[in-house]
Protein backbone atom coordinates (compact mmCIF):
# COMPACT_ATOMS: atom_id res chain seq x y z
CA UNK A 1 0.00 0.00 0.00
CA UNK A 2 1.39 3.31 -0.96
CA UNK A 3 2.16 5.77 1.83
CA UNK A 4 2.01 8.76 -0.52
CA UNK A 5 -0.40 11.38 0.87
CA UNK A 6 -3.49 11.79 -1.26
CA UNK A 7 -6.00 14.60 -1.41
CA UNK A 8 -9.60 13.53 -1.13
CA UNK A 9 -11.89 16.20 -2.53
CA UNK A 10 -15.23 14.46 -2.78
CA UNK A 11 -16.63 11.16 -3.91
CA UNK A 12 -17.71 10.04 -7.34
CA UNK A 13 -19.86 10.18 -9.38
CA UNK A 14 -19.17 13.70 -10.75
CA UNK A 15 -21.64 15.68 -12.83
CA UNK A 16 -20.61 18.26 -15.41
CA UNK A 17 -22.47 21.50 -14.91
CA UNK A 18 -22.69 22.11 -18.64
CA UNK A 19 -20.40 25.13 -18.77
CA UNK A 20 -18.04 25.26 -21.72
CA UNK A 21 -15.16 27.55 -22.61
CA UNK A 22 -16.82 28.20 -25.94
CA UNK A 23 -19.95 29.45 -24.20
CA UNK A 24 -17.96 31.81 -22.04
CA UNK A 25 -15.94 33.05 -25.03
CA UNK A 26 -19.13 33.58 -26.99
CA UNK A 27 -20.62 35.69 -24.20
CA UNK A 28 -17.49 37.82 -23.80
CA UNK A 29 -17.31 38.23 -27.57
CA UNK A 30 -20.94 39.35 -27.78
CA UNK A 31 -20.61 41.68 -24.79
CA UNK A 32 -17.57 43.32 -26.34
CA UNK A 33 -19.64 44.14 -29.42
CA UNK A 34 -21.58 46.65 -27.32
CA UNK A 35 -18.44 48.77 -27.28
CA UNK A 36 -16.95 47.74 -30.61
CA UNK A 37 -20.00 48.45 -32.79
CA UNK A 38 -20.17 52.15 -31.76
CA UNK A 39 -16.45 52.36 -32.49
CA UNK A 40 -16.89 50.88 -35.96
CA UNK A 41 -19.82 53.24 -36.54
CA UNK A 42 -17.65 56.19 -35.54
CA UNK A 43 -14.54 55.30 -37.55
CA UNK A 44 -16.10 53.42 -40.47
CA UNK A 45 -14.70 50.65 -42.64
CA UNK A 46 -11.07 51.03 -41.49
CA UNK A 47 -12.15 50.13 -37.95
CA UNK A 48 -14.10 47.14 -39.25
CA UNK A 49 -10.97 46.02 -41.07
CA UNK A 50 -8.87 46.23 -37.92
CA UNK A 51 -11.41 44.25 -35.87
CA UNK A 52 -11.94 41.57 -38.52
CA UNK A 53 -8.24 41.16 -39.26
CA UNK A 54 -7.42 41.02 -35.56
CA UNK A 55 -9.96 38.28 -34.84
CA UNK A 56 -9.11 36.36 -38.00
CA UNK A 57 -5.34 36.55 -37.59
CA UNK A 58 -5.55 35.58 -33.91
CA UNK A 59 -7.45 32.44 -34.90
CA UNK A 60 -4.97 31.81 -37.69
CA UNK A 61 -2.04 31.97 -35.24
CA UNK A 62 -3.94 29.63 -32.93
CA UNK A 63 -4.28 27.03 -35.70
CA UNK A 64 -0.61 27.42 -36.66
CA UNK A 65 0.50 26.90 -33.07
CA UNK A 66 -1.82 23.91 -32.69
CA UNK A 67 -0.21 22.33 -35.74
CA UNK A 68 3.35 23.19 -34.68
CA UNK A 69 2.87 21.85 -31.16
CA UNK A 70 0.91 18.82 -32.41
CA UNK A 71 -2.05 19.54 -30.23
CA UNK A 72 -5.75 19.38 -31.10
CA UNK A 73 -7.13 22.32 -33.05
CA UNK A 74 -8.55 24.60 -30.36
CA UNK A 75 -10.12 27.50 -32.22
CA UNK A 76 -13.52 26.03 -31.42
CA UNK A 77 -13.26 27.21 -27.82
CA UNK A 78 -13.33 30.82 -29.02
CA UNK A 79 -10.47 31.94 -26.81
CA UNK A 80 -8.32 33.07 -29.73
CA UNK A 81 -11.25 35.01 -31.19
CA UNK A 82 -11.76 36.77 -27.86
CA UNK A 83 -8.06 37.66 -27.66
CA UNK A 84 -8.24 39.05 -31.19
CA UNK A 85 -11.37 41.02 -30.42
CA UNK A 86 -10.03 42.55 -27.20
CA UNK A 87 -6.75 43.37 -28.90
CA UNK A 88 -8.65 45.20 -31.65
CA UNK A 89 -10.57 47.18 -29.03
CA UNK A 90 -7.32 48.81 -27.94
CA UNK A 91 -6.06 49.80 -31.39
CA UNK A 92 -6.70 53.00 -33.31
CA UNK A 93 -8.89 52.59 -36.39
CA UNK A 94 -5.96 53.50 -38.61
CA UNK A 95 -3.66 50.77 -37.33
CA UNK A 96 -1.73 49.30 -40.27
CA UNK A 97 -2.38 45.65 -41.10
CA UNK A 98 1.08 44.50 -40.09
CA UNK A 99 0.72 45.94 -36.59
CA UNK A 100 -2.50 43.95 -36.21
CA UNK A 101 -0.93 40.72 -37.43
CA UNK A 102 2.24 41.15 -35.35
CA UNK A 103 0.16 42.04 -32.30
CA UNK A 104 -2.03 38.98 -32.51
CA UNK A 105 1.06 36.84 -33.16
CA UNK A 106 2.65 38.14 -29.95
CA UNK A 107 -0.58 37.61 -28.01
CA UNK A 108 -1.23 34.07 -29.22
CA UNK A 109 2.29 32.73 -29.64
CA UNK A 110 4.26 34.49 -26.90
CA UNK A 111 1.42 35.43 -24.59
CA UNK A 112 -0.45 32.15 -24.65
CA UNK A 113 1.02 29.10 -26.36
CA UNK A 114 4.57 29.39 -25.09
CA UNK A 115 3.12 28.88 -21.63
CA UNK A 116 1.17 25.82 -22.67
CA UNK A 117 -2.02 27.30 -24.06
CA UNK A 118 -5.24 28.41 -22.45
CA UNK A 119 -5.08 28.57 -18.67
CA UNK A 120 -1.30 28.49 -18.49
CA UNK A 121 -0.35 32.07 -19.26
CA UNK A 122 0.95 34.17 -16.36
CA UNK A 123 0.33 37.44 -18.23
CA UNK A 124 -2.72 38.65 -20.04
CA UNK A 125 -1.79 37.88 -23.69
CA UNK A 126 -3.44 41.04 -25.00
CA UNK A 127 -1.63 43.21 -22.46
CA UNK A 128 1.67 41.60 -23.31
CA UNK A 129 1.12 42.25 -27.02
CA UNK A 130 0.00 45.84 -26.65
CA UNK A 131 2.87 46.61 -24.25
CA UNK A 132 5.43 45.30 -26.74
CA UNK A 133 3.81 47.29 -29.54
CA UNK A 134 3.70 50.44 -27.40
CA UNK A 135 7.40 50.18 -26.70
CA UNK A 136 8.30 49.24 -30.27
CA UNK A 137 5.99 51.40 -32.39
CA UNK A 138 4.67 53.98 -29.95
CA UNK A 139 3.88 56.56 -32.62
CA UNK A 140 1.41 54.22 -34.31
CA UNK A 141 -0.49 53.87 -31.03
CA UNK A 142 -0.48 57.63 -30.44
CA UNK A 143 -4.19 58.28 -30.89
CA UNK A 144 -3.73 62.00 -31.55
CA UNK A 145 -1.48 61.33 -34.52
CA UNK A 146 -3.25 58.18 -35.70
CA UNK A 147 -6.70 59.80 -35.87
CA UNK A 148 -5.58 63.22 -37.11
CA UNK A 149 -7.36 62.81 -40.44
CA UNK A 150 -10.78 62.21 -38.87
CA UNK A 151 -13.15 65.16 -38.49
CA UNK A 152 -15.31 65.01 -35.37
CA UNK A 153 -17.88 67.32 -33.88
CA UNK A 154 -16.10 67.27 -30.53
CA UNK A 155 -12.65 68.21 -29.26
CA UNK A 156 -10.65 65.40 -30.83
CA UNK A 157 -7.64 65.35 -28.57
CA UNK A 158 -6.87 62.24 -26.54
CA UNK A 159 -8.05 63.27 -23.05
CA UNK A 160 -5.18 61.54 -21.27
CA UNK A 161 -2.62 63.44 -23.34
CA UNK A 162 -4.36 66.70 -22.51
CA UNK A 163 -4.40 65.76 -18.84
CA UNK A 164 -0.76 64.70 -18.86
CA UNK A 165 0.50 67.78 -20.67
CA UNK A 166 -1.71 70.55 -19.35
CA UNK A 167 -3.27 69.29 -16.13
CA UNK A 168 -6.84 69.04 -14.97
CA UNK A 169 -7.85 72.44 -16.30
CA UNK A 170 -7.35 71.25 -19.87
CA UNK A 171 -9.93 68.49 -19.46
CA UNK A 172 -12.27 70.54 -17.29
CA UNK A 173 -14.52 71.30 -20.23
CA UNK A 174 -15.04 67.67 -21.17
CA UNK A 175 -18.38 66.41 -19.89
CA UNK A 176 -18.60 62.95 -18.41
CA UNK A 177 -21.77 62.37 -20.40
CA UNK A 178 -19.81 62.90 -23.62
CA UNK A 179 -17.21 60.41 -22.47
CA UNK A 180 -19.90 57.88 -21.64
CA UNK A 181 -21.43 58.32 -25.07
CA UNK A 182 -18.10 57.78 -26.79
CA UNK A 183 -17.50 61.39 -27.82
CA UNK A 184 -13.75 61.06 -27.38
CA UNK A 185 -10.94 59.59 -29.40
CA UNK A 186 -9.16 56.39 -28.43
CA UNK A 187 -9.16 52.69 -29.19
CA UNK A 188 -11.89 51.29 -31.42
CA UNK A 189 -13.62 49.58 -28.50
CA UNK A 190 -12.29 51.66 -25.64
CA UNK A 191 -14.18 54.92 -25.99
CA UNK A 192 -17.87 54.12 -25.69
CA UNK A 193 -18.23 54.12 -21.92
CA UNK A 194 -21.87 53.14 -21.86
CA UNK A 195 -21.24 50.11 -24.08
CA UNK A 196 -18.29 48.98 -21.99
CA UNK A 197 -20.21 49.34 -18.74
CA UNK A 198 -23.26 47.52 -20.13
CA UNK A 199 -21.11 44.66 -21.36
CA UNK A 200 -19.21 44.55 -18.09
CA UNK A 201 -22.36 44.43 -15.98
CA UNK A 202 -23.73 41.61 -18.15
CA UNK A 203 -20.54 39.58 -17.80
CA UNK A 204 -20.40 40.14 -14.04
CA UNK A 205 -24.04 39.17 -13.55
CA UNK A 206 -23.57 36.01 -15.62
CA UNK A 207 -20.41 35.20 -13.69
CA UNK A 208 -18.11 35.18 -16.71
CA UNK A 209 -15.84 37.74 -15.10
CA UNK A 210 -15.21 38.25 -11.40
CA UNK A 211 -16.95 41.36 -10.12
CA UNK A 212 -14.49 41.54 -7.24
CA UNK A 213 -11.59 42.21 -9.60
CA UNK A 214 -13.42 44.59 -11.95
CA UNK A 215 -14.96 46.71 -9.21
CA UNK A 216 -11.87 46.79 -7.01
CA UNK A 217 -9.88 47.95 -10.04
CA UNK A 218 -12.34 50.76 -10.72
CA UNK A 219 -12.39 51.64 -7.01
CA UNK A 220 -8.58 51.73 -6.98
CA UNK A 221 -8.55 54.10 -9.94
CA UNK A 222 -11.33 56.30 -8.54
CA UNK A 223 -10.04 56.60 -4.98
CA UNK A 224 -6.44 57.23 -6.02
CA UNK A 225 -7.48 59.84 -8.55
CA UNK A 226 -9.65 61.50 -5.90
CA UNK A 227 -6.76 61.61 -3.45
CA UNK A 228 -4.45 63.19 -6.03
CA UNK A 229 -7.14 65.70 -6.94
CA UNK A 230 -7.80 66.68 -3.34
CA UNK A 231 -4.13 67.10 -2.55
CA UNK A 232 -3.38 69.03 -5.73
CA UNK A 233 -6.20 70.15 -8.08
CA UNK A 234 -3.79 70.13 -11.00
CA UNK A 235 -4.50 66.40 -11.16
CA UNK A 236 -7.81 65.44 -12.74
CA UNK A 237 -10.63 63.98 -10.69
CA UNK A 238 -11.85 60.38 -10.71
CA UNK A 239 -14.52 60.87 -13.38
CA UNK A 240 -12.02 61.62 -16.14
CA UNK A 241 -9.71 58.82 -15.06
CA UNK A 242 -12.53 56.29 -15.00
CA UNK A 243 -14.03 57.15 -18.38
CA UNK A 244 -10.94 57.75 -20.51
CA UNK A 245 -8.10 55.68 -21.88
CA UNK A 246 -8.17 51.94 -21.29
CA UNK A 247 -9.74 52.12 -17.81
CA UNK A 248 -13.15 50.61 -18.57
CA UNK A 249 -11.95 48.09 -21.12
CA UNK A 250 -9.24 47.20 -18.62
CA UNK A 251 -11.70 46.69 -15.80
CA UNK A 252 -14.10 44.43 -17.69
CA UNK A 253 -12.03 42.71 -20.37
CA UNK A 254 -8.35 42.82 -19.44
CA UNK A 255 -7.67 42.53 -15.74
CA UNK A 256 -10.36 39.87 -15.30
CA UNK A 257 -8.62 37.38 -17.61
CA UNK A 258 -8.82 34.03 -15.82
CA UNK A 259 -5.37 32.60 -16.09
CA UNK A 260 -3.48 35.68 -14.93
CA UNK A 261 -5.77 36.73 -12.07
CA UNK A 262 -6.32 35.33 -8.57
CA UNK A 263 -9.28 33.21 -7.54
CA UNK A 264 -9.79 34.02 -3.86
CA UNK A 265 -11.70 37.00 -2.53
CA UNK A 266 -9.00 38.94 -0.66
CA UNK A 267 -6.35 38.35 -3.34
CA UNK A 268 -8.82 39.51 -5.99
CA UNK A 269 -9.46 42.73 -4.07
CA UNK A 270 -5.73 43.36 -3.57
CA UNK A 271 -5.00 42.50 -7.21
CA UNK A 272 -7.70 44.75 -8.64
CA UNK A 273 -7.18 47.67 -6.30
CA UNK A 274 -3.41 47.48 -6.69
CA UNK A 275 -3.68 47.67 -10.47
CA UNK A 276 -6.09 50.60 -10.16
CA UNK A 277 -3.74 52.51 -7.87
CA UNK A 278 -0.80 51.81 -10.17
CA UNK A 279 -2.79 53.01 -13.17
CA UNK A 280 -3.31 56.45 -11.67
CA UNK A 281 0.25 56.63 -10.34
CA UNK A 282 1.62 55.97 -13.82
CA UNK A 283 -0.78 58.46 -15.39
CA UNK A 284 -0.13 61.23 -12.89
CA UNK A 285 3.54 60.90 -12.06
CA UNK A 286 4.84 58.25 -14.45
CA UNK A 287 6.23 58.53 -17.94
CA UNK A 288 3.36 56.98 -19.88
CA UNK A 289 0.14 58.71 -20.87
CA UNK A 290 -2.04 55.74 -19.95
CA UNK A 291 -1.03 53.45 -17.12
CA UNK A 292 -3.52 50.62 -17.55
CA UNK A 293 -1.31 48.37 -19.66
CA UNK A 294 1.72 48.35 -17.39
CA UNK A 295 -0.37 48.41 -14.22
CA UNK A 296 -2.15 45.20 -15.25
CA UNK A 297 1.10 43.53 -16.30
CA UNK A 298 2.64 44.36 -12.92
CA UNK A 299 -0.50 43.08 -11.21
CA UNK A 300 -0.13 39.87 -13.25
CA UNK A 301 3.35 39.56 -11.78
CA UNK A 302 2.10 39.68 -8.18
CA UNK A 303 -0.84 37.39 -8.90
CA UNK A 304 0.82 34.12 -7.79
CA UNK A 305 2.02 35.80 -4.62
CA UNK A 306 -1.27 37.37 -3.52
CA UNK A 307 -3.18 34.23 -4.43
CA UNK A 308 -1.37 32.45 -1.61
CA UNK A 309 -3.70 34.31 0.74
CA UNK A 310 -6.41 31.67 0.69
CA UNK A 311 -8.79 29.80 2.96
CA UNK A 312 -7.94 26.46 4.45
CA UNK A 313 -7.96 23.72 1.86
CA UNK A 314 -11.24 21.85 1.55
CA UNK A 315 -10.86 18.16 2.15
CA UNK A 316 -8.33 16.31 4.22
CA UNK A 317 -4.92 14.79 3.70
CA UNK A 318 -4.73 11.15 4.54
CA UNK A 319 -1.68 8.96 4.66
CA UNK A 320 -3.40 5.74 3.65
CA UNK A 321 -6.10 4.95 1.19
Amino acid sequence: MSATPKLTVSYAPFWHNGSRISKKSCNIFMASLLAVVPGVYQYGVPALGVVALSVGSAMMWEIIMNILTRRPISIGDGNAAVIGMIFAMLLPATAPWWIVVIGTCIAIVIGKHIYGGIGGNPFNPVMLAIAILMLSWGKILDFNAALASYAFNFNAVYPLTLMKSFGASAVGGISLKDLLMGRQIGGIGATCGIGLIAGGIYLMLRGYIRWEIALSFLAGVGVTALCFNKVNPVYAGPGIHLLTGYTLVGAFYLITEDSSSPVNFIPMMIYGAGAGILTVLIRNIGAHVDGVVFAILIANLINPLVDKIRPKTIGEVITHA
Binding site: G49, L53, G56, M59, I63, G76, D77, A81, N144
Partner: protein, 211 residues
Protein backbone atom coordinates in the same frame (compact mmCIF):
# COMPACT_ATOMS: atom_id res chain seq x y z
CA UNK B 1 -22.98 22.32 -29.43
CA UNK B 2 -20.53 19.52 -29.94
CA UNK B 3 -16.82 20.04 -30.07
CA UNK B 4 -16.78 19.19 -33.78
CA UNK B 5 -19.39 21.77 -34.56
CA UNK B 6 -17.53 24.33 -32.47
CA UNK B 7 -14.40 23.66 -34.47
CA UNK B 8 -16.25 24.07 -37.76
CA UNK B 9 -17.79 27.30 -36.53
CA UNK B 10 -14.33 28.46 -35.47
CA UNK B 11 -12.93 27.79 -38.93
CA UNK B 12 -15.85 29.61 -40.53
CA UNK B 13 -15.43 32.66 -38.27
CA UNK B 14 -11.68 32.73 -38.93
CA UNK B 15 -12.09 32.58 -42.70
CA UNK B 16 -14.86 35.18 -42.78
CA UNK B 17 -12.94 37.56 -40.48
CA UNK B 18 -9.73 37.22 -42.46
CA UNK B 19 -11.61 37.82 -45.70
CA UNK B 20 -13.42 40.88 -44.34
CA UNK B 21 -10.19 42.22 -42.84
CA UNK B 22 -8.17 41.80 -46.03
CA UNK B 23 -10.96 43.29 -48.15
CA UNK B 24 -11.31 46.26 -45.82
CA UNK B 25 -7.61 47.02 -45.99
CA UNK B 26 -7.30 46.57 -49.75
CA UNK B 27 -10.60 47.70 -51.24
CA UNK B 28 -11.47 50.50 -48.83
CA UNK B 29 -8.17 51.82 -47.51
CA UNK B 30 -8.28 54.77 -45.15
CA UNK B 31 -7.97 57.84 -47.33
CA UNK B 32 -6.62 61.15 -46.21
CA UNK B 33 -9.06 64.09 -46.34
CA UNK B 34 -8.62 66.71 -49.04
CA UNK B 35 -7.77 69.33 -46.45
CA UNK B 36 -5.79 68.45 -43.33
CA UNK B 37 -8.09 68.30 -40.30
CA UNK B 38 -5.40 68.10 -37.68
CA UNK B 39 -1.66 67.94 -38.11
CA UNK B 40 0.78 66.37 -35.68
CA UNK B 41 4.05 68.25 -35.54
CA UNK B 42 6.97 66.48 -33.97
CA UNK B 43 8.78 69.44 -32.43
CA UNK B 44 11.92 69.62 -30.35
CA UNK B 45 9.91 70.12 -27.16
CA UNK B 46 7.47 67.29 -27.89
CA UNK B 47 4.58 66.54 -30.19
CA UNK B 48 2.19 69.36 -31.02
CA UNK B 49 -1.28 68.61 -32.36
CA UNK B 50 -2.50 71.45 -34.53
CA UNK B 51 -6.27 71.57 -34.96
CA UNK B 52 -7.53 73.67 -37.84
CA UNK B 53 -11.11 73.56 -36.58
CA UNK B 54 -10.18 75.02 -33.19
CA UNK B 55 -8.27 77.84 -34.82
CA UNK B 56 -11.09 78.71 -37.20
CA UNK B 57 -14.01 78.28 -34.77
CA UNK B 58 -12.63 79.39 -31.43
CA UNK B 59 -10.28 82.10 -32.69
CA UNK B 60 -12.35 83.18 -35.71
CA UNK B 61 -9.36 82.90 -37.98
CA UNK B 62 -9.68 82.70 -41.74
CA UNK B 63 -7.32 80.48 -43.68
CA UNK B 64 -5.52 83.48 -45.12
CA UNK B 65 -4.87 84.88 -41.66
CA UNK B 66 -2.14 82.32 -41.35
CA UNK B 67 -1.47 81.25 -44.90
CA UNK B 68 -1.19 84.69 -46.48
CA UNK B 69 2.52 85.15 -46.54
CA UNK B 70 3.41 81.85 -48.07
CA UNK B 71 1.57 82.19 -51.33
CA UNK B 72 3.75 81.59 -54.30
CA UNK B 73 1.85 84.13 -56.34
CA UNK B 74 0.59 81.55 -58.81
CA UNK B 75 -2.08 79.74 -56.85
CA UNK B 76 -5.11 81.06 -55.01
CA UNK B 77 -4.96 78.18 -52.56
CA UNK B 78 -2.89 78.57 -49.45
CA UNK B 79 0.23 76.51 -49.29
CA UNK B 80 0.21 73.33 -47.24
CA UNK B 81 1.65 73.71 -43.75
CA UNK B 82 4.16 71.03 -44.61
CA UNK B 83 5.63 73.25 -47.30
CA UNK B 84 7.48 75.04 -44.51
CA UNK B 85 6.78 73.09 -41.32
CA UNK B 86 7.93 69.61 -42.08
CA UNK B 87 6.26 66.73 -40.34
CA UNK B 88 9.44 64.82 -39.68
CA UNK B 89 10.53 67.48 -37.23
CA UNK B 90 13.40 68.85 -39.25
CA UNK B 91 13.50 72.60 -39.61
CA UNK B 92 13.43 73.87 -43.10
CA UNK B 93 16.32 76.23 -43.44
CA UNK B 94 15.33 79.89 -43.49
CA UNK B 95 14.89 81.09 -47.05
CA UNK B 96 14.79 77.55 -48.33
CA UNK B 97 15.02 76.46 -51.87
CA UNK B 98 11.65 77.94 -52.78
CA UNK B 99 12.22 81.12 -50.85
CA UNK B 100 8.83 81.01 -49.16
CA UNK B 101 10.06 82.12 -45.81
CA UNK B 102 9.87 85.87 -45.39
CA UNK B 103 11.81 87.37 -42.50
CA UNK B 104 10.14 90.72 -42.85
CA UNK B 105 6.64 89.28 -42.56
CA UNK B 106 7.57 87.17 -39.60
CA UNK B 107 9.24 90.02 -37.75
CA UNK B 108 6.79 92.79 -38.59
CA UNK B 109 3.46 90.97 -38.85
CA UNK B 110 4.06 88.40 -36.16
CA UNK B 111 6.32 90.50 -33.95
CA UNK B 112 8.94 87.79 -33.74
CA UNK B 113 12.43 88.60 -32.54
CA UNK B 114 15.33 86.99 -34.33
CA UNK B 115 16.31 84.89 -31.35
CA UNK B 116 12.83 83.38 -31.07
CA UNK B 117 13.61 81.27 -34.07
CA UNK B 118 17.38 81.32 -34.17
CA UNK B 119 17.98 80.14 -30.67
CA UNK B 120 19.12 76.60 -30.59
CA UNK B 121 20.51 75.59 -33.90
CA UNK B 122 24.17 75.58 -32.98
CA UNK B 123 25.33 72.09 -32.19
CA UNK B 124 27.15 71.91 -28.90
CA UNK B 125 26.14 75.45 -28.01
CA UNK B 126 22.66 75.39 -26.45
CA UNK B 127 20.93 78.73 -26.51
CA UNK B 128 23.52 80.29 -28.77
CA UNK B 129 22.51 82.29 -31.79
CA UNK B 130 23.07 80.69 -35.09
CA UNK B 131 25.85 82.50 -36.93
CA UNK B 132 24.29 84.63 -39.67
CA UNK B 133 26.95 83.49 -42.06
CA UNK B 134 25.71 79.93 -41.88
CA UNK B 135 23.00 80.85 -44.37
CA UNK B 136 23.94 84.26 -45.68
CA UNK B 137 27.14 83.64 -47.55
CA UNK B 138 29.00 86.16 -49.66
CA UNK B 139 27.44 84.48 -52.66
CA UNK B 140 25.27 81.48 -51.93
CA UNK B 141 24.29 80.95 -55.54
CA UNK B 142 20.66 80.98 -54.46
CA UNK B 143 18.77 84.10 -55.45
CA UNK B 144 16.33 83.66 -52.61
CA UNK B 145 19.05 83.92 -49.98
CA UNK B 146 20.40 87.38 -49.39
CA UNK B 147 24.13 87.83 -49.32
CA UNK B 148 25.73 88.48 -45.97
CA UNK B 149 26.04 92.18 -46.73
CA UNK B 150 22.50 92.66 -47.98
CA UNK B 151 21.10 90.67 -45.07
CA UNK B 152 22.89 92.88 -42.59
CA UNK B 153 21.83 96.11 -44.22
CA UNK B 154 18.21 95.11 -44.67
CA UNK B 155 17.52 93.03 -41.60
CA UNK B 156 20.18 93.11 -38.92
CA UNK B 157 21.05 96.74 -38.63
CA UNK B 158 17.73 97.75 -37.06
CA UNK B 159 18.16 95.30 -34.20
CA UNK B 160 21.75 96.36 -33.73
CA UNK B 161 20.60 99.94 -33.28
CA UNK B 162 17.86 99.01 -30.82
CA UNK B 163 20.10 96.77 -28.77
CA UNK B 164 23.08 99.10 -28.89
CA UNK B 165 25.17 96.52 -30.64
CA UNK B 166 28.04 97.25 -32.93
CA UNK B 167 28.18 97.93 -35.80
CA UNK B 168 25.22 100.28 -36.18
CA UNK B 169 24.08 102.78 -38.78
CA UNK B 170 26.77 105.29 -37.93
CA UNK B 171 29.58 102.79 -37.87
CA UNK B 172 30.09 101.96 -41.50
CA UNK B 173 33.77 101.52 -40.89
CA UNK B 174 32.97 98.72 -38.46
CA UNK B 175 32.65 96.52 -41.50
CA UNK B 176 33.78 98.67 -44.36
CA UNK B 177 37.50 99.16 -44.33
CA UNK B 178 38.69 102.28 -46.21
CA UNK B 179 38.55 100.53 -49.53
CA UNK B 180 35.26 98.86 -48.84
CA UNK B 181 33.91 102.07 -47.39
CA UNK B 182 34.31 103.77 -50.76
CA UNK B 183 32.38 101.00 -52.46
CA UNK B 184 29.74 101.12 -49.77
CA UNK B 185 29.29 104.83 -50.03
CA UNK B 186 29.03 104.84 -53.79
CA UNK B 187 26.68 101.87 -53.94
CA UNK B 188 24.43 102.43 -50.98
CA UNK B 189 24.87 105.71 -49.13
CA UNK B 190 24.53 108.25 -51.86
CA UNK B 191 20.92 107.47 -52.63
CA UNK B 192 19.87 108.32 -49.09
CA UNK B 193 22.05 111.37 -49.01
CA UNK B 194 20.29 112.65 -52.10
CA UNK B 195 16.87 111.95 -50.66
CA UNK B 196 17.65 113.61 -47.36
CA UNK B 197 19.56 116.46 -48.90
CA UNK B 198 22.33 115.91 -46.44
CA UNK B 199 25.97 115.09 -46.74
CA UNK B 200 27.83 114.47 -49.97
CA UNK B 201 25.61 113.56 -52.86
CA UNK B 202 26.17 112.60 -56.46
CA UNK B 203 27.20 116.11 -57.44
CA UNK B 204 29.57 116.57 -54.53
CA UNK B 205 32.52 114.46 -55.64
CA UNK B 206 35.00 116.99 -54.44
CA UNK B 207 33.78 116.74 -50.90
CA UNK B 208 35.52 113.43 -50.59
CA UNK B 209 37.81 113.33 -53.62
CA UNK B 210 39.97 116.34 -52.99
CA UNK B 211 42.74 117.56 -55.27
Amino acid sequence: MTSKNEKLLGFAVAVVCLAVGILSYTVVPAKAPDLPVRVMFHALGGNVLFDHQTHSDAYNLECDDCHHSHKDGQSEKPDACGACHQKDGEYRRALGEKGFFDHKVHSEDYGLECAQCHHDYVEGKPGGLEPCGDCHLRDSGDESILSYMDAFHQQCIGCHEEMGLSPGKSECAGCHTPRKKIEAFHNQCMGCHEDLGAGPGEADCKTCHGY
